[in-house]
Amino acid sequence: MTILSSENLILASEDDVMLARRKVRLLAETLGFDPFTVAAITTATSELCRNVCVHAVKGTARLEQIGSGGRTGIRLEVRDEGPGIADIDRVLSAGQRSVGSLGLGLSGSRRLADEFRIETIVGRGTVVTVVKWKRPA
């Protein structure tokens, strides 16, 4: 897999979340993603970046254009040094009735992404990585 471009973003305020969304949308549209896929990755971005600002006060995001075997994709890694997530399995299987926004945001992002990875340590922080590939023609 190759990384074709990379950009780092700060996540500390609502404005940063909006900017992250815009950048992801722009990248997806530029790469020729279809509208449904654009919506999926943009929404996942919004969920993850908001989680950082709400639960961890601040963090960073790295937005990359990736390629693998002729496919084109977007990878977003969202990182914070917040409280970490104690019961990750429960949170990930959360439906709408979960307490707080964290659950649905994370499980929602996972459902929208093609690939999803999370590493979290209580008291240290969380890293969530999502990948969305362009649909083949």
Binding site: M1, T2, F36, S68, G69, G70, R71, P136
Partner: protein
């Protein structure tokens, strides 16, 4: 099909090329040796390609394939490029792309594998004879020949992959066409859409269907869509789940879904699976679904009175 298509289908990136080089045991020494033989190759390329064409023209069936002069000239040039390419000293992603382009050219002209695989074998024989003359030292000649053989084997694998990918591509296009034909969304009446589903619904198709349905509902500003599943052979939890998702999404748009064609088997499956489809309108017959759809948009179908020539079919507004 363009180069990009094959690159994608064969997962050809740097890592894959390196993996193949490794398995075909192509080393840096091999490549250096081959590059060192470039002038030898240039000297003999015309003769060697002529060897190949003598073989083709001497074979009645093969000859028929290449009788059109323009084709012959074009393919000859491609063969020259191919042959010299063996001595470029490269075996990287760019090399692979060059090889694919040649393969694509053959595919476009419709050359079946038996001819170009036979051609590779012909090259190897032609080269063997001439290498022995060029490199009198037996060990050197053997090393050179082996390097060439390894690279030709590598190229043969690519040629086969290209051929198979092209066949699969054609198959996929046919399947896509069939899918298109079997899922038209029909405007049955103002504000009423009909989607008669035929064939198996897998996740991929279900996703596409939902998107097509949503786009059509908004485009037509349809209040109701009837999805008829009488033509779907298997309805299991997954399919029922897809239909539920689609119904919910249609509701979010502000329209309603009626599921029709519910056979006894499907009804049993859904109830026994404990699925909750109370949110959906369901009917066993399409005709009933149609009546319900009209009701939803405030219309009713009535009979024309007999022996009344001037009467037109009237839709009575329900207040």
């Amino acid at each position: 099909m363009p180069l990009q298509y094959y690159m994608e289908k064969l997962y050809l990136d740097e890592a894959e090329v390196e993996s193949r080089r490794h398995f075909f045991e192509i080393t840096a020494d091999d490549l250096t040796r081959l590059a060192g033989l470039h002038s030898f190759a240039e000297k003999h390329t015309d003769d060697i390609v002529e060897d190949l064409y003598r073989l083709i023209l001497g074979h009645p069936e093969a000859k028929k394939q290449f009788t059109e002069h323009a084709t012959l000239v074009r393919v000859k040039q491609a063969q020259r490029d191919y042959f010299l390419g063996l001595f470029s000293g490269r075996c990287d992603l760019a090399y692979v792309q060059d090889r694919l382009r040649i393969g694509i050219a053959h595919e476009r002209v419709g050359v079946p594998p038996k001819w170009y695989l036979g051609a590779y074998a012909r090259y190897l024989r032609s080269i063997f004879d001439r290498i022995a003359v060029e490199l009198p030292d037996a060990a050197q000649a053997r090393a050179a020949y082996q390097s060439i053989e390894k690279l030709v084997a590598f190229d043969t694998a690519l040629a086969m992959d290209t051929y198979i990918a092209a066949q699969l591509g054609a198959l996929e296009r046919h399947q896509a066409a069939i899918r298109e034909l079997s899922t038209p969304i029909i405007r049955l009446y103002q504000q009423v859409l009909l989607l008669p589903l035929i064939g198996t619904i897998d996740t991929h198709r279900a996703d596409q269907l939902m998107e097509a349905v949503l786009l059509k509902v908004v485009e037509e500003q349809a209040h109701v869509i009837i999805i008829d599943i009488a033509g779907v052979p298997l309805v299991d939890t997954k399919v029922a789940d897809h239909l539920l998702k689609t119904t919910e999404a249609v509701r979010l748009l502000g329209a309603q879904t009626i599921l029709s064609g519910i056979s006894p088997i499907i009804a049993k499956t859904i109830v026994n699976l404990g699925m909750n489809i109370s949110a959906m309108h369901t009917k066993s017959r399409l005709a009933e679904a149609l009546e319900l759809a009209f009701e939803i948009i405030g219309k009713r179908v009535t009979s024309i009175a007999k022996n009344h020539p001037a009467a037109a079919a009237e839709a009575t507004e329900k207040s």
